[in-house]
């Protein structure tokens, strides 16, 4: 019988190796798999390349992973949100690398990586510094830049419900990058609020089919990043 559940968040991240590329779901705290990120900090893997829209807040979750010097490079669209101090500090000191990607290009590159599209053209960033050094091609009278698909060794995402096959549904705007990251990663690790029986999710409403999911751990009552940040919590 197929059953993708694992025993703990620590088991879930146990195979993440030094130097791995890790996509982490979430747009701000919505969809951030904070328990998996904290388990990754405990696990100790370093020299990671992390793909996330942002760089975390305060001193917990993704910001804590960065603060603990596990991240060599961030690929993201907006690294300086409110309450984001950790990344800017390291970046100014030259201690962390940044690949800045427009948000839609980031989403599309991840989707392309998952869909077997190695490269595509887009109008986004044409004529701006972010197109510098990139191939530009005129198609039907408009200029486009060439962008490459993005894949990862691991994805860490958060779902509302999951079944043993790995079928997932999400909560509201916490969906954001998770479905495309699940497609683009070699190993997709999910923390779910609820684990349900196979067949309980209507096949019409599954957002991420189980084929894109490898490991599932239930975290029924996840920490809320904004509360931790407000309380000035530091992980670990």
């Amino acid at each position: 019988m197929i059953n993708k559940q694992v025993n703990s968040v620590h088991d879930a991240v146990a195979n993440i190796n030094d130097g791995a590329t890790v996509m982490i779901g979430g747009f701000g705290e919505a969809g951030s798999p904070i328990e998996l990120i904290h388990a990754l900090i405990d696990h100790g893997a370093k020299d990671l390349t992390v793909v996330n829209n942002n760089t975390g807040s305060g001193h917990v979750g993704l910001a804590a992973l960065i603060e603990n010097k596990r991240v060599a490079k961030m690929i993201c669209s907006f690294p300086k949100s409110a309450n984001s101090f950790v990344f800017p500090d390291l970046y100014k000191k030259g201690e962390i690398e940044l690949e800045l990607v427009p948000q839609g290009t980031l989403a599309e590159r991840i989707r392309a990586g998952g869909a077997g599209v190695p490269a595509f053209y887009t109008a986004t960033s044409v004529g701006t510094p972010l197109a510098e050094g990139k191939e530009v091609r005129n198609i039907n009278g408009r200029d486009y830049v060439l962008e490459y698909g993005l894949t990862a060794d691991f994805a860490l995402i958060k779902s509302l419900k999951a079944d043993r096959y790995g079928n997932l549904i999400y909560n509201k705007t916490a969906r954001n990058f998770a479905p495309v990251m699940a497609m683009a990663a070699e190993t997709t690790i999910v923390q779910t609020k609820e684990f349900v029986e196979a067949g309980e999710l209507d096949p019409e409403v599954v957002v991420t089919p189980g084929i894109f999911v490898d490991q599932i751990i239930t975290v029924a009552d996840p920490l809320l990043e904004s509360k931790l940040v407000a309380a000035e919590e530091v992980y670990p």
């Binding site: 990344f87 839609g104 599309e108 701006t128 990058f177």
Partner: protein, 216 residues
């Protein structure tokens, strides 16, 4: 600012921008003053707001007790979903933007040039942390780009200029600017003042603009 309010305040700028949005439009709102536009849909019209983090049919801020930290807008502020809304993932959301399906986007600006060039993501300062978000996708993909902005910077420098000195977000993309002082269209001849805020005259706006304005 200690000086007396001259022209439109932030709420009034948002309200003015809302008046230009036709019934039935699909609209994306940038972070800052543009977020406020959602409150000012004119009577008798229905507008569908898109937020690029995965929601079509965005409503205003929730009532107290109705907040869900996983229901936010692109500015990461708590919002609501109207009946008839839909959620989708980021690539689908940007397909709406990049595929030309959003009718209007209202953005903030650091500089707008008289040819419609927009700079709103970076001062180009090498010490600053660059951050672009969805701005370049929006200006490349949305049919009509409008800007809401203070007419001058905090230090009094003009934001409407002959040529952007900051790195571009997109070239020749802006069609209209709603500032605290005036509504200004980008035309082939340059900036054209189409409406002045109450109590503001043309010369007052011209003095605070980095290039020649055309009177309507």
């Amino acid at each position: 600012m200690s000086e007396e309010q001259i022209g439109w305040n932030r709420e009034q700028m948002a309200e003015r921008a809302a008046q230009d949005i036709p019934n039935g439009s699909y609209v994306n709102l940038g972070i800052g003053i543009p977020e406020k536009v959602v409150r000012y849909v004119p009577d008798g019209t229905e507008v569908i707001y898109h937020t690029e983090n995965g929601l079509l049919g965005m409503g205003d801020a929730p009532e107290e007790g109705q907040e869900d930290p996983e229901l936010i807008n692109a500015g990461k502020k708590l919002v609501t979903a109207i009946p008839g809304a839909s959620y989708f993932h980021h690539a689908d959301s940007f397909s709406m933007i990049r595929g030309g399906h959003i009718d209007i986007c209202v953005l903030g600006a650091m500089q707008v040039a008289e040819n419609g060039d927009l700079a709103n993501w970076s001062t180009g300062n090498p010490d600053a942390i660059p951050a672009v978000g969805g701005a370049m996708d929006l200006v490349a993909g949305v049919k009509t780009i409008r800007v809401i902005t203070q007419h001058v910077t905090n230090k009094g420098y003009p934001k409407l200029v002959e040529k952007c000195t900051f790195p571009l977000t997109g070239a020749g993309v802006v069609s209209r600017i709603i500032s605290d002082l005036a509504v200004i269209d980008v035309t082939s001849e340059g900036f054209k003042v189409v409406e002045l805020a109450p109590g503001v005259d043309f010369d007052y706006v011209q003095e605070r603009t980095g290039c020649k304005l055309i009177a309507e």
